[in-house]
Amino acid sequence: MNTYHATITITLRKGILDVQGKTVEHALHATDFPMISHLRIGKYVELTVEAENKTTAHSLVEDACRKLIANPIMEDFSISLNELQVENV
């Protein structure tokens, strides 16, 4: 078994207006940052998972995202995985 560290980024789905993101973007435009756009606010989740290999680890985390961590009706998520060395666990 290997241990993997996963970071998960969750944002509202593309078609859904991110009111919070828009508000922050407007505030930036009102200050010194008119060049900033497409700002979206989401959630960050990290976890470790034990699995035979990276593919299995990814599919386990993806399953957890679909079942609980994210709500696919309103959220998109992306997963980034790194194998942890024993001394880092």
Binding site: L12, I16, L17, V19, Q20, T23, L68, N71, I73, M74
Partner: protein, 240 residues
């Protein structure tokens, strides 16, 4: 009608739901860790509140409570279920109702009276109301912005599954009357089978004349009417 009121850690409308249910029928509390629903319960209420602190998403953790497995089974057998506010959020997370409740478009927690227009009075929850009747019911939520994809919304509308819409006092479905940005001013929906209701407004909070308004009582009166009409009763007596 015998009501079961589920208490999750963080429920805070359980007493109000219990009081109102008791005025109209009999009620008992159910605990989130319970693994059975007592015999004789006709209607389960998932009350408002902040179950599990609204951690992750409203209703997301409550959905995995042991009692929710039983609630899903109960609903699938035709038992009546009402989710109010946080209860509505739990029902969508549990997949008993379609769609999801997003953050209010204003980003504010909205706590005030709203007017609702009755969009469907042919349900067990609304038969004591007239079509397009206007009722005044309070809302108190930060995440009540009903959203579903276009296909789901079209299906809800075609099947007459929208039960309540936010309106003004004259029944106009305006943007100003919509406290949270819900699509089509949707305030409450039922499932396709018609035995599961989810609504953001709190009928239990306006169900006693002492409170200055008792418009919410109609939901419970409707259920009593439904209970008395044996022919329409959907739950087999032996189920629970």
């Amino acid at each position: 009608m015998k009501y079961g009121i589920v208490r999750f850690p963080g429920s805070n409308c359980d007493h109000d739901a219990f009081y109102t249910a008791s005025q109209n029928g009999t009620a008992e509390y159910l605990w989130h860790k319970d693994t059975t629903i007592p015999k004789g319960i006709d209607c389960i209420i998932l009350p408002g509140g902040f179950s599990y602190g609204d951690y992750l998403r409203c209703g997301a953790i409550a959905r995995f409570s042991p009692i929710m497995r039983e609630v899903v089974t109960f609903a699938n057998r035709g038992g009546l279920v009402i989710g109010i506010c946080n209860g509505f959020q739990i029902l969508t997370e549990a997949g008993l109702l379609p769609g999801v409740l997003l953050r209010n478009s204003s980003l504010n927690f909205v706590c005030r009276d709203v007017f609702l227009s009755v969009a469907n009075n042919t349900t067990p929850f609304t038969s004591a109301l007239k079509p397009n009747q206007i009722v005044r019911i309070p809302v108190a939520h930060g995440d009540g912005n009903y959203y579903a994809d276009n296909e789901t919304i079209a299906k809800l509308e075609t099947n007459n599954q929208v039960v309540f819409r936010y309106s003004d006092a004259e029944g106009r479905l305006t943007e100003a009357a919509n406290p949270n940005g819900s699509i089509n001013n949707i305030a409450g929906i039922i499932n396709e089978r018609g035995n599961v209701l989810g609504m953001m407004p709190h009928p239990e909070r306006y169900s006693d004349d002492l409170l200055g308004c008792s418009d919410g009582k109609a939901v419970f009166q409707s259920l009593e009417l439904f209970d008395k009409s044996n022919s329409a009763k959907m739950v087999e007596p032996t189920s629970y």
